[in-house]
């Protein structure tokens, strides 16, 4: 959409269903994440662009500014609440510390005895597949062409070869294939599996996007499998319950062991969740890069650009990434420093000749 808006002639090649891969599996939380300065800047920028788009988004995108509530279980996590608030304040993201009582008031279904939390009121939630489809439809309305049902097998030197033997030529090729690195085999993107459970409709059961503060601790361990309490109310009144992170499991099957751990964690924080009806369980893969940052920008092949490796933040970051990428293509200035996301940081030695 960004490229089409900038007046470029755009073709989108999608072998399967638009918005049907990781984007159909994710939670759609639009959240400013402070695990590194670069991530902080990108996610803040992403959230800002979502906010600006808000009025134009169709209802199907279900944009809702619910606010994130980072839940602190004990005094130690409460210290983190203050540290986190300081970080947010430093880049102009507003937040509000809640004590035990205020937390209980904000979310009565949380168990008693939690220390407090940090409310980030401008964080939001969207329904990702509809958002992806909206971006695509906007681009199509501006003249972009959707080429659906054929898989590209090679993309280099301005040519994209398709499985059916045909080829497309382009001045610039943007690879945005999520966890699939078949077109750019020199890139390392690891699938990081996540489980989600969706419930039937219980309007008013949960009000904010709830995440335990321990989340960052568990989410960013590079190797071990982890679970965290993460419950999101959707506009439909349904609750999405997460989250789990696993490496080295490329199967779509539900892993009962980790699913149980994840559900136990949710029940620990929110006991009455036990009685709600779960209507579906699924898994999805986040595209994890070695440096935990997405890859946005040029490659040694001057016709090939990347926009992939968004791990667990690809929905939040998508409008920012699109903007940065269009800036690269059009050689425009960017609103934030784009150096941290350059694919050059993670190229393996042999890459230049691939």
């Amino acid at each position: 959409m960004e490229c089409a808006r900038a007046g470029l002639r755009v073709g989108v090649v999608e072998p399967r269903v638009p918005g049907g891969a990781a984007s159909a599996a994710g939670m759609g939380h639009v959240v400013v994440m402070d695990d590194s300065p670069a991530q902080l800047a990108l996610s803040r920028y992403g959230r800002e662009l979502w906010q600006k788009m808000r009025a134009a988004l169709p209802d199907s995108v279900e944009y809702e500014q619910r606010g994130t509530l980072w839940v602190a279980a004990d005094g130690e996590e409460m210290q983190e609440v203050y540290a986190k608030q300081a970080t947010y304040t430093s880049i102009g993201v507003s937040s509000q510390v809640l004590d035990e009582k205020a937390l209980a008031q904000a979310e009565p279904e949380l168990r008693k005895g939690l220390a407090g939390g940090l409310l980030v009121p401008e964080d939001a939630v969207v329904y990702p597949p509809a958002a992806a489809r909206y971006f695509l439809d906007e681009a199509i309305a501006l003249g972009a062409k959707l080429i659906r049902g054929v898989r590209p097998v090679e993309a280099a030197k301005g040519i994209v070869r398709l499985q059916d033997g045909s080829a497309l030529s382009a001045g610039s090729i943007v690879i945005a294939t999520g966890v699939d690195t078949s077109l750019v085999p020199w890139i390392t993107v690891q699938p990081r599996k996540g489980h989600l459970v969706i419930t039937d409709r219980y309007p008013g059961f949960v009000h904010h996007q709830l995440v335990e503060l321990g989340y960052l601790k568990s989410a960013h361990k590079l190797t071990a499998d982890s679970v965290a309490f993460n419950v999101q109310p959707r506009q439909t009144g349904q609750l999405l319950i997460g989250s789990s992170r696993q490496y080295g499991d490329a199967e779509h099957d539900v892993d009962n062991k980790i699913l149980k751990q994840m559900i136990d964690r949710a029940c620990e924080y929110m006991p009455r969740i036990r009685d709600l009806s779960a209507i579906r369980v699924w898994t999805g893969f986040r595209a994890a890069t070695p440096n935990k940052l997405p890859l946005i920008g040029p490659t040694p092949d001057p016709t090939v650009f990347l926009a992939m490796g968004f791990e667990g933040l690809g929905i939040t970051n998508s409008p920012a990434a699109a903007r940065l990428l269009a800036d690269h293509l059009l050689q425009r200035e960017s609103a934030i420093d784009r150096d941290p996301f350059l694919p050059a940081h993670v190229f393996r030695g042999e890459s230049a000749h691939a």
Binding site: V17, P18, G19, G20, A24, S60, P129, A130, R133, R148, G149, V197, T199, D200, I241, V254, N256, L259, K260, Q261, I263, D264, A266, C267, I273, R274, D275, L276, S277, A278, I279, R280, V281, W282
Partner: protein, 441 residues
């Protein structure tokens, strides 16, 4: 979690499952049957709260007798929700909120069929039911005495159901069958080779004396302010209205293939693929009755018996049934042909007619997607069609008929469950054996 091991495990205690249990119990094999209902019988012999007021059904009594005598253990009230690795099924009991596990050496899937529903304006009004649906609800205690009922849709069941409703005190006004008479006549000719089936048909006919059976006609719309008041029908040329309290409407049956699909059994034309001896593509897993193709109770009984024999290695005996099984399959195929859907019933829905009842997705929205390059996955992701708790069991067969979209994925759990069931501490019953009851009547 409690787990118990069985030589032969059977899912479904309808005619196919009961016959399988009776056959497999020979020679001291330990056989268990799981069924979600409170009693054995399946759809056709669903236990009713007032069964003692009806005249006994000889076939039902005979099969039930065999089943009870076989010594197979019936675990009722258990819905199979997931398959775990290495031959273990997980069940959930809705009424009591408990889960259990059942391990097996051999598995027989006899999960039956459900009704196919097709959308038409007003089909979501209170007072509009499935045809088999209304029958089941009546057996479950709904009192329809004195109610005026219109019956519509397609399939041989409509007559059976109308007769049952009549017996239960309802006043059946008419039966509208969408299939044209010409198609039904050739089916009836095929029936002549089976005197038994004709007798069944005749006895139905007698309890339906005075009820109009209109072929080649189908509903246009159901009307009412918050509750059904009348239904408009057409035969393509003229339209007429029927004032009624209830409409019982179903468009034949679709096999329940979710569990077989979850276990990896190969499918063909929406049915579980089996060889002449009821073997599926998965080793040690057999399938019998409606999931292999809708063919009626006689087919279900024969296939069940064959599957039961196969499960305990009595291949030669099972082979002896093959010819009859094949002939019943032929009957099923003839029936499918006779009651195939006419194009008009695929055009009953208006733009704002709801297709997906869980999520209230309208026909117009789906039609617009279908005109593009879209699949059912797009319809799910973009319109939420099939995303609700029925997991597409109602709208799935409808959109397949309407747009040719096929449901691609089956994921565990195959039915919604309380969150606690997914936790490491579900309320699990530990004394499963004591809870097993052979409660048939």
């Amino acid at each position: 979690m409690s787990s118990q091991h069985w030589d032969v495990l059977i899912v479904g205690a309808g005619p196919a499952g009961m016959a399988a249990a009776a056959a497999a119990s020979q020679g001291g094999h330990r056989v268990a049957v799981l069924d979600e209902n409170p009693a054995a019988g399946g759809q056709i012999w669903r236990r009713g709260w007032n069964d003692d007021e009806h005249k006994p059904d000889a076939a039902r009594q005979a099969q039930t007798g065999k089943f009870v005598a076989s010594g197979a253990t019936l675990f009722h009230g258990r819905r199979v929700v997931a398959a775990l690795a290495q031959g273990v099924l997980e069940t959930w009991n809705d009424a009591e909120n408990v889960g259990e596990r059942f391990a097996y050496d051999k598995l027989i899937l006899a999960t039956g069929a459900r009704e196919r529903f097709l959308p038409f304006p007003g089909w979501t009004l209170p007072g509009v039911f499935g045809a088999g649906g209304l029958q089941a609800l009546v057996r479950n205690g709904y009192d329809v005495r004195g109610k005026r009922v219109a019956v519509a849709g397609t399939g041989p069941l409509l007559m059976a159901i109308a007769a049952h409703l009549q017996e239960d005190g309802a006043k059946v006004l008419s039966i509208c069958e969408q299939a044209p008479l010409s198609q039904l006549v050739s089916f009836a000719t095929a029936l002549l080779k089976r005197p038994g089936k004709i007798l069944q048909g005749l006895s139905l006919r007698s309890s339906l004396r005075g009820v109009a059976y209109r072929t080649g006609s189908w509903p246009v719309a159901a009307y009412g302010a918050g509750q059904l008041e009348k239904v408009e029908f057409t035969d393509g040329k003229r339209r007429w209205e029927v004032d009624c309290d209830l409409l019982a409407c179903g468009f034949h049956l679709v096999p329940n293939i979710e569990l077989p699909a979850l276990l990896g059994c190969a499918l063909e034309d929406g049915c579980v693929r089996v060889d002449a001896l009821q073997r599926t593509s998965v080793e040690h897993v057999f399938c019998a009755g409606e999931p292999t193709g809708v063919a009626g109770v006689d087919a279900a009984l024969l296939q069940g018996e064959a599957a039961g024999l196969m499960a305990i290695g009595l291949t030669a005996q099972a082979q002896k049934l093959s010819a009859r099984v094949a002939s019943e399959r032929g009957f099923g195929a003839a029936m499918e042909k006779a009651f195939r859907l006419r194009t008009e019933v695929l055009q009953m829905a208006a733009k704002d007619t709801i297709v997906c009842r869980c999520e209230d997705v309208c026909y117009g929205d789906l039609k617009a997607l279908a005109d593009g390059q879209n699949t059912w996955t797009d319809a799910k992701l973009q319109k939420r069609c099939g995303m609700g708790p029925c997991q597409g069991r109602v709208c799935g067969p409808a959109v397949e008929a309407l747009f040719g979209w096929k449901n691609a994925s089956v994921r565990p759990p195959i039915f919604p469950l309380p969150i606690s069931a997914l936790s490491s501490e579900p309320q699990l019953r530990t004394d499963s054996n004591s809870a097993a009851l052979q409660e048939i009547q």
